[in-house]
Symmetry: C2
Subunit: 387 residues, 2 copies
């Protein structure tokens, strides 16, 4: 495998983008990314596109070919990747492999989701397709209900409290205030979270990431030619992925995401690093409990210790390990097919030193962690600014 | 790139499989394929799964992880590929690249679609997601209507007749009679097609591939170790893909699929072959006109000449070029996410000499041609029995 770098990134503002359809969102993020990389559409050899449930949200499948057309790529191979909420991370990994294997030089990876054309109820049902439809959802549980089960068990086993979960949301909303692309740019309090409506006990509205529209695009190239295009290429040191059962009932434990543990172990090994080497990380906080479990499964905390540490401010912006500086899924928004690529956008932006008021000083190595469903897919990327 | 071989294939019977859900279909085809390859689930390093619209058909996204779990693969990377009706061919190509690049040895590629849990109207609407939802389908055209436009223009420009289109269906139904996995094993006549109900003029019910349930799985390995598992590995000589606009209105011509032409040209070049070298081909006959256009775009006939040639029997089973020996999408059935891999199954079965009563004698080189939507994706594979 040869070394791979991200040479360009582009993002749309996340949120309720009533005025734009999916193709406009794709184009908006894509044009940013191509300009950022200093390339034209003619340079691109293959494109991976990711959406989770565009068929159910807007009736559109076959979105990679549409992305290719919208960005003016002429007749190149276009491949849609769908791995639920880990679609973006999975697409990024396919792009990484396409470049790393030597098959292609310039590869574009783009994720998008247009979720606000349906009702919240319809969106929640569509998102249930990330879990086991036949053995879970069809039996009556909702997708938030799956994470509520995990939260309940985590509280039972480790004494995690609802206030500690709320602290995840408070931190991520605070980070989002300084992200101009974020859906929610408003500071909230623990009490705001505690007072918000119950969705699936113990998870309240402010424990849950929102329904969002948005797109994110990244441009990859071999590191050896990356500087031809860009002065600050960000090297992907590791790109690792693992899977697990769709259904929670078939897992060994409810309080961990085994796919995250396996993907992280593989990533640390490939990058020749340990959790101590990571300065910033975007973790998959689809629900507050998900960030707590991620911090443990990624090796930053022992199992059962993360919730208190987060509540104590150990992962706030500018601490030794800054977590979800973009605002995470909770604060920045969660257009599901775009999220994994937006995470990479944030890490690239931080490692370049271009994160403005939310810049973490001295960030050297970053990680992006993207989860599909209730943990049936996990993708972990480790990146650093190329020397 | 190192040489890649298919060492195992498995298929379910295609049709209205009321008694089985998607996970059972996956398992049925998958177990066949693993047994055929002489491997166990522990040998598999990565799995690509393909469905087109499982979200809309049965509410289930995230199907590659489900496939991985159903086949007992433990926590390996699982990636769903969706490129409309070319999802299967696109997944096969990703598997080919994963092995060919040297990243992985044993890779499983599985396609499935469970289409009969919804009404025919709902299924047709879901399939419309293969075209341009915003600029075509939302304006009122149906998916068969898109191919009807192409048929009308082909008839106008080249004098193609409805009876010639009907001959495609008659040939493919005849081939399906001897395929025990086929949905329709009944000989039909030109008059049967002409008398069937109009769907979108000039296409009648018997010009259209059916709504089907089914799954197909293939196992890939480097050619250099393929004989460790299998006495008759089938080498993939070329795996090529191209894209085009989703919308017909943006294409240069209605009578050709440019993505097919580009993918075919690339495949011939990589395989160092011409159309004359191909003895059997599975082409994407989602509608009868699609087979006519494919025979021209793949270089077997000049533009405008294929329809008469097919009607004259030039592509019947056992002729110099046997086309859609499996029965094609029309006769064998078209569970959209499985079709591209089923095409490879047929070519492998023929090249091994295991096709029973539909065996083409002396078949040396085969091609599989898979199209997404009205031509926004095309994938072409060329295969031969390894020496």
């Amino acid at each position: 495998m040869r070394d791979v770098a991200i040479i360009g990134v582009g993002l749309t503002r996340f949120g309720e983008r009533w005025e734009h359809g999916m193709r406009e969102l794709m184009a908006e993020a894509g044009i940013h990314a191509l300009e950022d990389a200093g390339i034209t559409s003619k340079d691109v050899e293959v494109v991976y596109g990711s959406t989770m449930a565009s068929g159910r949200f807007i009736g559109q499948e076959h979105v990679a070919a549409l992305l290719s057309d919208q960005l003016g790529f002429k007749n190149i191979p276009a491949v849609r990747i769908e791995n639920a909420c880990a679609s973006g991370g999975s697409a990024l990994r396919q792009g990484y492999l396409a470049v790393g294997s030597g098959m292609h030089d310039i590869v574009v990876v783009g994720g998008v989701e247009k979720m606000t054309d349906v009702t919240t109820g319809e969106a929640t049902t569509a998102l249930g397709g990330a879990g086991d439809q036949e053995w879970e959802l069809a039996q009556g549980i909702t997708f938030p209900g799956l994470y509520a089960l995990m939260a309940k068990r985590h509280m039972h086993d480790y004494g995690t409290t609802e206030e500690q979960l709320a602290a995840v949301s408070v931190k991520n909303h605070l980070n989002a205030v300084n992200n101009e692309y974020a859906q929610f740019r408003k500071k909230i309090s623990i009490q705001d979270v505690m007072n918000s409506k119950m969705v699936a006990e113990p998870l309240k509205v402010f424990d849950c990431s929102p329904i969002s529209d948005g797109a994110a695009v990244a441009v990859l190239a071999p590191l050896e030619i990356a500087r031809k295009y860009n002065d600050t290429p960000i090297q992907i040191l590791a790109s690792s992925q693992a899977s697990d059962t769709l259904g929670l009932a078939e897992r060994e434990k409810l309080t961990e995401i085994k796919a995250t543990q396996i993907a992280a172990a593989d990533a640390y090994k490939r990058a020749r690093m340990t959790p101590k080497d990571i300065g910033i990380v975007e973790v998959h906080d689809c629900f507050t409990i998900a960030e707590v479990m991620a911090m443990e499964d990624l090796g930053f905390y022992e199992k059962g210790k993360a919730a208190k540490a987060i509540a104590d401010g150990e992962t706030a912006l500018g601490s030794k390990l800054s977590v979800n500086t973009s605002g995470g899924l909770k604060g920045c928004g969660h257009p599901v097919g775009a999220t994994g690529i937006k995470q990479a956008w944030e890490i690239v932006t931080q490692l370049r030193g271009e994160a403005g008021q939310r810049q973490v000083s001295g960030a050297e190595v970053g990680m992006a962690h993207n989860v599909g469903g209730s943990g049936a897919t996990a993708v972990v990327h480790i990146m650093k600014r190329a020397n």
